[in-house]
Assembly symmetry: D3
Homo-oligomer: 316 residues x 6
Amino acid sequence: MDLVTFGETMLRLSPPGQERLERATELEFRAAGAESNVAVAAGRLGLETTWLSKLPDSPLGRKVTATLRAQGTEPAVAWSESGRQGVYFLEQAGEPRGTNVVYDRTDAAVTTATPADLDVSRVEAADYFFTSGITPALSATLADTTRDLLARARESGATTALDVNYRSKLWDSTTARAELESLFPHVDVLFVARRDARRVLDREGDAPAIARGLSEDFDFGTVVVTRGEDGAVAFHGGETVEQSVFEAETHDAVGTGDAFVGGYIARRAQGGDIVDALEWGAATAALKRTIPGDVALVTPAEVDAVLDGNTADIDR
Amino acid sequence: MDLVTFGETMLRLSPPGQERLERATELEFRAAGAESNVAVAAGRLGLETTWLSKLPDSPLGRKVTATLRAQGTEPAVAWSESGRQGVYFLEQAGEPRGTNVVYDRTDAAVTTATPADLDVSRVEAADYFFTSGITPALSATLADTTRDLLARARESGATTALDVNYRSKLWDSTTARAELESLFPHVDVLFVARRDARRVLDREGDAPAIARGLSEDFDFGTVVVTRGEDGAVAFHGGETVEQSVFEAETHDAVGTGDAFVGGYIARRAQGGDIVDALEWGAATAALKRTIPGDVALVTPAEVDAVLDGNTADIDR
Amino acid sequence: MDLVTFGETMLRLSPPGQERLERATELEFRAAGAESNVAVAAGRLGLETTWLSKLPDSPLGRKVTATLRAQGTEPAVAWSESGRQGVYFLEQAGEPRGTNVVYDRTDAAVTTATPADLDVSRVEAADYFFTSGITPALSATLADTTRDLLARARESGATTALDVNYRSKLWDSTTARAELESLFPHVDVLFVARRDARRVLDREGDAPAIARGLSEDFDFGTVVVTRGEDGAVAFHGGETVEQSVFEAETHDAVGTGDAFVGGYIARRAQGGDIVDALEWGAATAALKRTIPGDVALVTPAEVDAVLDGNTADIDR
Amino acid sequence: MDLVTFGETMLRLSPPGQERLERATELEFRAAGAESNVAVAAGRLGLETTWLSKLPDSPLGRKVTATLRAQGTEPAVAWSESGRQGVYFLEQAGEPRGTNVVYDRTDAAVTTATPADLDVSRVEAADYFFTSGITPALSATLADTTRDLLARARESGATTALDVNYRSKLWDSTTARAELESLFPHVDVLFVARRDARRVLDREGDAPAIARGLSEDFDFGTVVVTRGEDGAVAFHGGETVEQSVFEAETHDAVGTGDAFVGGYIARRAQGGDIVDALEWGAATAALKRTIPGDVALVTPAEVDAVLDGNTADIDR
Amino acid sequence: MDLVTFGETMLRLSPPGQERLERATELEFRAAGAESNVAVAAGRLGLETTWLSKLPDSPLGRKVTATLRAQGTEPAVAWSESGRQGVYFLEQAGEPRGTNVVYDRTDAAVTTATPADLDVSRVEAADYFFTSGITPALSATLADTTRDLLARARESGATTALDVNYRSKLWDSTTARAELESLFPHVDVLFVARRDARRVLDREGDAPAIARGLSEDFDFGTVVVTRGEDGAVAFHGGETVEQSVFEAETHDAVGTGDAFVGGYIARRAQGGDIVDALEWGAATAALKRTIPGDVALVTPAEVDAVLDGNTADIDR
Amino acid sequence: MDLVTFGETMLRLSPPGQERLERATELEFRAAGAESNVAVAAGRLGLETTWLSKLPDSPLGRKVTATLRAQGTEPAVAWSESGRQGVYFLEQAGEPRGTNVVYDRTDAAVTTATPADLDVSRVEAADYFFTSGITPALSATLADTTRDLLARARESGATTALDVNYRSKLWDSTTARAELESLFPHVDVLFVARRDARRVLDREGDAPAIARGLSEDFDFGTVVVTRGEDGAVAFHGGETVEQSVFEAETHDAVGTGDAFVGGYIARRAQGGDIVDALEWGAATAALKRTIPGDVALVTPAEVDAVLDGNTADIDR
């Protein structure tokens, strides 16, 4: 198995167009979560991918697995008689209203997931293992399980990757910092938004300085600092690499960061160097912005076309 | 205020037509609950109605109040910073698949509602007060609050009504029986399905016997026993009244029982006798079956037309 | 031109499924009217058909002509700067609610249509001319125009046909009788529902007696009396012919009568005798009931299949 | 009651996306009108609001009241057996096609509304009373009723407000000027678009000059002149205040002006000064542009966020 | 791998409700084919299933694989640069119109599939191998490939099953008989509709006689003859077993036969005897009729509930 | 007949919004083709137009004719028992994904159309005859038929027009050049995109040079070279005319070129000079970009408004 990811996937309920939730009479119904988003993006770009989690044994849980399988990622799920299916309501809107998220994920089945529940042999057979800072934020149990899986993956020879992905609605920055720093010894590749580096990890300076500093302090193999429209910076092997964004007409911005990580890992796992991987990440992220829903339902040919600048016309 | 009801109203998410939840890509989005369904039906038929409850202060809570207001019932809501908005997923299907409900209502904001949270002056000003056996099943707090409100209403001179509405997914029949029987001293009018009378209240015999027996044992002013396609039986003032159902082409059966109760109360509160009220209940229930969603969005003229047998043609 | 019809075509706005108008957030949008329904059905079954009318010069008027052209009937329209586009709201429902129609057709552009507005050369070139009792009910001007066109058509050698189609929302039965009887001298073929014959034309007896009586009193070439599920009866050439209905699973009953007339005229105009024409009418009407909207969007092969009893299977 | 408004609310029928009316097969179905739009916006921002009008007693009239109640404004309606429900068809489009409106509002029930029809006690109990220049344009009766209600409100101590809102499809500018100027003696706060001030009220000069001039000529307490993307100017207490617009990604521009007035009145009625009120007006208008339909379905927190410049990110 | 099936899966395009194709403005978009339908049904009921085929390397081909994966069946696909994606248009309608299918499957990529294209190791590892008489009808190449795979499967120890599934639009009955009889020596379990047995295989007599006769003439281990509403008959081990249908409210009848086969094979492959398997087949078929689309998206618990007669109520 | 066009019209299947084909569950269903697009645009702007083609006698073929008739163009169709209905799948997307077209048009019925199949009397009666370079690319038969019709039209006195419209998915540029140049002797007005002139016709230089060169080499009456956002250039009567584009908010760019040609021809056929015609072409093209689907469903008044710069406001 090339890539195994671990985390929560929620059901996403969103009104059509820019309608308000309180007036909507129908909702679009999708499934999405940071770790499965990364798996799907990487899977679309050539990796064999598995998403590990725990779900309620219900039509809602099956909606999640059906969605992931359709997108090419294999769910390896502990089916549970207890615990809810996490849900979030998403209201898309332009400025100044902005997009609004209402989470309803408390007591999700995944919050009780222990290594004993999960098919850890998948983790032990992985080349890459990925999770995000959302997972340990969901429960104390999940924090322990996250640490266990990261350690287990690394011991089995996998490259481990973590995206900080701070969620202020789940925990405060002090708790988050302590928990995340306890995970860092098991992590090879760290992804962190510049803003999160500052407000959670208390880093100062610009993105290159943050990348280098984190790398030196925690001995990461690679640190990738993302900074929205200003692109990404990686520190790896003592060197700094910068990558700008590809322009995109944004249709649905949710999941852009996950697409970046998925593109990056797909390229690295297929032998690309850091420069290649950042380019793939940026191209996958740009394509994602044109696609409704949270996942980068792309093809390698589409990523190639972005990298070749070959995207302007209707091809007929 | 003519009628005040108290209970939980959930958001209802259902695939279009008979599609399966796990494959659906869009869901119809409505709001519904036994007690607000009763209030809406009675309100449509002429009563001034208020629905008392506690909701999360979010777009989801506001979806509930907007829906009820649109349907003519005034929500009197304690807005809460904690607690969820209850949700249920509904899959409509014909036989032999049958309609399937997935509840997701744990830890709803309403489960912590105390009399201190609520505008009890509304209850004290009511002519009729209604709740169902679902409400005390939701939490120990709600069981206490239900008892308090029933007692308070009765002391203030309201007629109090309770629909047993047993939900096996919420509590077992032994617990339900104990709790419900503790409420009965505060109840004037009891509605109970024959099936619930047997499995929860341990009643035997046919519907007339059940109605008479409950009335005698608990000193109810009126007991109405419903028995599905076989119609309803009431015991009141020492006499038994039977009411058959009006034929209907069923489009959406959910909420039929609540429509019956709403029609009954509307007529009683407007001076009808038991025979009148049972007829209005049965007519409202028949109309409900032709209407999508859980509520009887009817007019008095439509109920009259059913009672007059005046329903066969397109009027143009 | 084989068949020219004259009358009003309205826009039809209806909630999806059985939703109530007052809660609907979207409406299906179609165009329909008795006379254009007849033209479309006959056109689908082989006649060249024209629909004569007056419409407002607006996107709403163009919606009407685009719809008719798509269905194969040529609109010959006087475009007007004044007058509204007639609209009706339709709520489909099963029993006991029943289907409900809200007309909003007052002051439609067509109500001012005079022979001078219209391309009467079309009428003069027609083999068949058809209108319904709705048209003279819409305005005094239209009553005059209807009489003029019927007379003109007959003088030019066309067979003229009228469907009584009484609408109690448009006029009372006394006024209707007087007006209709003033048209009868110009009519060759009369279609009338048994119920309308009784309440408007004050006829008594069963359908065969009504058909014969009308024929004798007004010297019609043919009288066809329809009686819903009991089929139709024609009196022609001194003989009575009966036609039963073909069974149908009703999806949308509106327009069934117009489909019957369209099928009948199509067959007559193509040389069929009364027996043939009644069969085609009944088959077209049965097919119509399976089709959403007001018109019989059928093919000759489908009518043949009904007549051959050849309709039971999926053909693959 | 904090705010009472008086006027017509129509049903709005619009094709999805940018589809053309004449090809559309379904229409979105909403209710909207200048005066109820103002009431809804102000109600969402904290006022108790009532909308006074006359409606046909039909499912169409009930669609209007259900919509307003859902949005938090109480309809106080004279139900009528005669008169139509006004309707308008709206085709949204980008440049150079532009958005197109087809009105169908002639002979609406409201056009016959007299003070005797209406619950004028609501007007007499109001803190604020609002109507627009559309209302007197609809019929001579309504012009009289508008004058009566403005006078009555003012005598009862309400602040009266009028938005000129010139509609060239309803009356010519000379008639409009005469009628509006006959209302001005009863008006405290005048809202007028710079363009209307010029073409209807024959004002010259820039917006500040217009505001001051109108104020001096007609003795208004406040005059607010709006000028589209250039923001608004108020003249009040001898001073001029300017307010620029907040940038917005426009999803649906219809109703922007009403949202401005609603936000302004909400703030004034809650004690804000002119500067505050203009800011709230501008923020509410900017939010409106992101919301489908005619009304500003906003929350006070959203307006605060616009004023704080706190709108850039997904909050999670 | 428990079950491998081989055949064509098409894209299904159907108007919503009972709308006509020539007037539809949107189409439902699904994927379906006899052999993948069987695989999905069996997979839902517990088997590991693979569908073997050849598809165009395009978004249309990927729509097919995504759909099958979502439904739990693994596609093992030869991706092709040439050949089309087969499509069919389906118009659902009640009697007398009936459901109508327009195939557009000529030159599909699968028609050139040879054993060399396909991952035949899957066939060799299968416990069960299934195909239908549609597959050899699609091209001479496919006829050869079908024979090869059936022979290969049987030699590798699989139980081979064939459903005759005669399609008169693909070949005449004489050609079909010759081709099918050349496949029979490689087939263990034959499914055939009574009608096909008569018109294609020239069998006479009732279903039990047909089952026994085919079994004796071609040495099948099992023959199952289906006869629509009259249920199925199997001949196996010298004995005849009958199975009636379970009543169902039909929402979409397409795919009922495939659901029967899938349920049957699932039960047999999991150790059930013929009686069990026929019951599962009949229960799965009844459930299918309640589900939109061609596949039996069921659960084992639902099949159990049908067999237990436990389907009457909403469970809450 | 003012304008006759000849070519293929396909059915267009596209996911709503920017959804991906492989995940879509419903598709918009329209009909479109270069030559019918031109006919519709010209017909909307005042010409009587006929579209000549060959279609399968099926609901799919009838969907094409119903669509064209609704849009005001008369189809003159040879109905065929063999041959497919061409289809294309369209995925709309912003940059960098871009819009993607999947053609499925092989073996369409039209590919066998000969002059003997078609109602060539229409061509002989035409004032203008138009086809595009797509038509001869579809089959050798069609190449011959195209040449025959162009020659026939010209001999009958029509002005003949050809739009090069190169499709690399249909033929290579060398073949295309040879075939097109064999048509040029029969062509009066040539439309060609600058890009096609370069890659297919091997022209060099800027657009004015290309226009003049082609005109001189092939003796065209008029050559119009289009260059996307840079507008168009015509060479006619020894003079060069330039036309810039009108700004448009693009909703659906497909068919912009056809709208240009349709607007141009409409104006020329109604007596406009080259300058007028280019302006109408550009205005029609700009309007098209605001309209979903492939055709310019416009009115002359809308084109006038663009030319007058009179497009900025909602008119009410």
